[in-house]
């Protein structure tokens, strides 16, 4: 199980939770599992999200490995100038 921290405003999609647990070994599996467990997250994930694993931000990428004790944070998709 990995623990995923969501950004605050996603609470409405998870019944009030900002920390959720899913079974996943990499980012792609995690996103799929999240969307399955919380269907309201699906369009948000589809629309594009970033994932921070142990402090490093990954904008897209399905195969970044996640260790069970990794710190995983779901973040909105970001862009600079």
């Amino acid at each position: 199980m990995v623990k995923v921290t969501l950004w605050g405003s996603l609470r409405s999609a998870t019944g009030g939770l900002t920390e959720v647990e899913v079974e996943a070994k990499n980012t792609g599996e995690m996103l799929k599992a999240l969307a399955k467990k919380y269907p309201a997250l699906d369009p948000i994930i589809e629309g594009g999200v970033s994932v921070a694993i142990d402090g490093l931000i990954y904008k897209e990428a399905w195969f970044t490995p996640i260790k069970p004790d990794s710190e995983v944070v779901l973040l909105p998709y970001m862009k600079g100038g």
Binding site: A52, L56, K59, E71, P76, M78, G81
Partner: protein, 755 residues
Amino acid sequence: MVTEYKEGSVGAEFNKREFKVVGTRPPRPDGVDKVTGRALFGADFTAPGMLHATVLRSPHAHARIVSIDTSGALAMDGVKAVVTSEDFVKQTSSGNQDTLDNCMARGKVFYDGHAIVAVAATSVKIANAALKLIKVEYEILPHETDVDAAMLDSAPVLHEGRKFRNIPEGNNANVSGYWEFGHGDMDEGFAKADIVIERSFKTAATHQGYIEPHATLATMGPDGRGEIWVCTQGQFMVRDLAAAFVGIEASQLRVTASEIGGGFGGKTTVYLEPVALALAKKSGRPVKMVMTREEVFRASGPTTSSSTDVKIGMTKDGRITAGQAKLRYQGGAFPNITAMLGAMTAFASYDLEAVQTQAWNVLTNRPKQAAYRAPGAPMAIYTVESVVDELCQKLGLDPLEVRLLNAAKKGTLSSYGPTFDEIGLVATLEAAKAHPHYAAPLGPNQGRGVSCGFWFNFAGNTSVSMNINEDGTVAVIEGNPDIGGSRASISMMAAEELGIPLEKVRTIVADTNAIGFNDVTDGSRVTFAVGLATIKAARAAIQNMCGRAAQIWGIDADAVDWVDGAAVPTGHNAGDFPPMSLAKIAADSAKTGGPIAGHFEVNADGAGVSFGVHLVDVEVDPETGFTEIKRYTVFQDAGKAIHPDYVEGQMQGGAVQGIGWALNEEYIYGEDGKLQNAGFLDYRIPVASDLPMIDAVILEIPNPGHPYGVRGVGETGIVPPLAAVANGVSHAAGVRMTELPMSPPRILAAIDGAK
């Protein structure tokens, strides 16, 4: 300051690395072209038989387009084609459709300057005359340009019937985005504070202000194949959007990026390109389009304006106990994520137990905002750094000490979610504290301002190819327009990795058919991500060259190492051969298997966040309210400065844009919703006589995500100046300033109000 990498991290080799080329200051490869006038920018291209196109723009802030009659224009001698929104393909993604609707209004105009019709003719003069013959019937609608007013239930709705995602109850239909970040118990945090300050701030919309207006030249034959030359921050972005908008496949459109006369985020989208392509398609002739400066201001993206409430609690000894911000941004008539980035960055400099930020994006009748250097962060951090400064002032504490006490560091749970890895804020603050500027005496009516700043930096999709020429020189082919000397730093990293002199390397920015996909030049990504891909491409070429040497020597390929630009045998039974140089291997390449090249493609991550601290001394004239910048010093963590001159240049340029934002720059709208200052005379960007030298102090806290330790440096520099200058002015004038720009009348009014 030396930081050791963790063993096994990407940057572990950095620990032992001694650089030969990286860190020096050689002249840039495109320099001579740019001092002799040879360099070709967006408006410098021509093609045989070329037409010129100009655009009819809305004089209204908000109106329904009832009808458009272009017959008069089409009948005019010399007019070859006319396009409206009808000539473009409907998009499936709402983001792309918004961009298209911004290029050419569909059904409604949303702001003063919104494009409606474009005309291609044999000269600009004829095209402009033809625009006058176009009849547009409007149904004028009520408009709103102010962020707070647009949130009221009484405000006119811009996009009726369009449902934006995840908007909480209680917001009106103009709210297109809502985000929330943070952690900890706010009530408990504020309860621990000895003092709590709550303030509201406003910042004006500012424009990137690149000196080169948008310009493009497009061709398209009856075979449906097109070409575009354009000044852009991303030729692949232009290709993908323009092709989709006119309905051709990406492979049929080749886009070449010209030299670019400044972008700062503002050239990460399209305005003219799809329009020129559609006109070229219709007329069968090349079409050139160049914006006037007025069009640049009215119709290309400024940044957002903002209205923010901040509340921060602090103990007597300077520990921040809780921080809260509510940020309301408007970025014009289409949705954007700038407010979200503001909410993520507002408190990023601090290690906080309780922090909460909420952000709203609100649609208004203004041009569609475009990214501007660290989008969202300057105005958010301005508000937080202003309140922190006021808390220090009230408690009689040193502003740098307080920031050091609360600074985010490795292991800090950031205000936006993840825990920080190796970051340079403490080192940057220490450097500022130790600098003579901080101890220098101040004169009468002078004040010193301090601010921290933060930006994420991004990496993204990157492709680099490298060809080893037979004469021992090297061509690096990359796909990101060079906006500030990146060809220099990329050549330097190639030379460093290959172990050859810099003069042997030439880097070019290729068109969309000559190299794999690259994201736009944004997020301070180029030196980081293209640099990373260049190093990896060089390693691929090196591996190939070691293989060739092994074959020639008749030994195992893994018994060959690459040292100082040459293959050398390693290990005790590799044999005793003299080093074989890159030039020698290249010269024999035809006989050893053919041309030698290396390439690397990646969606890079690990850009590494960057922090900066700015110190400024200002003098405020109490009679006129005029502010003079007396002294300015920038401290910033660059990870590793590949070419320190251009790192300093980014820091200085960012600081001065921020000074303009703080003191002068502002989009001014009248009651009629029209932009009143669409020119450099009335929208005043800093000029040479406004400024002192900008001292730049580079810190190098290596980024563990890059083989040389590089972090992005392009954006962070614009973040701290807003608060640094505001804090300086507040001290000098003896009154807290809470609205940008701090123009002389505003400062005078504040001084009078305080009396």
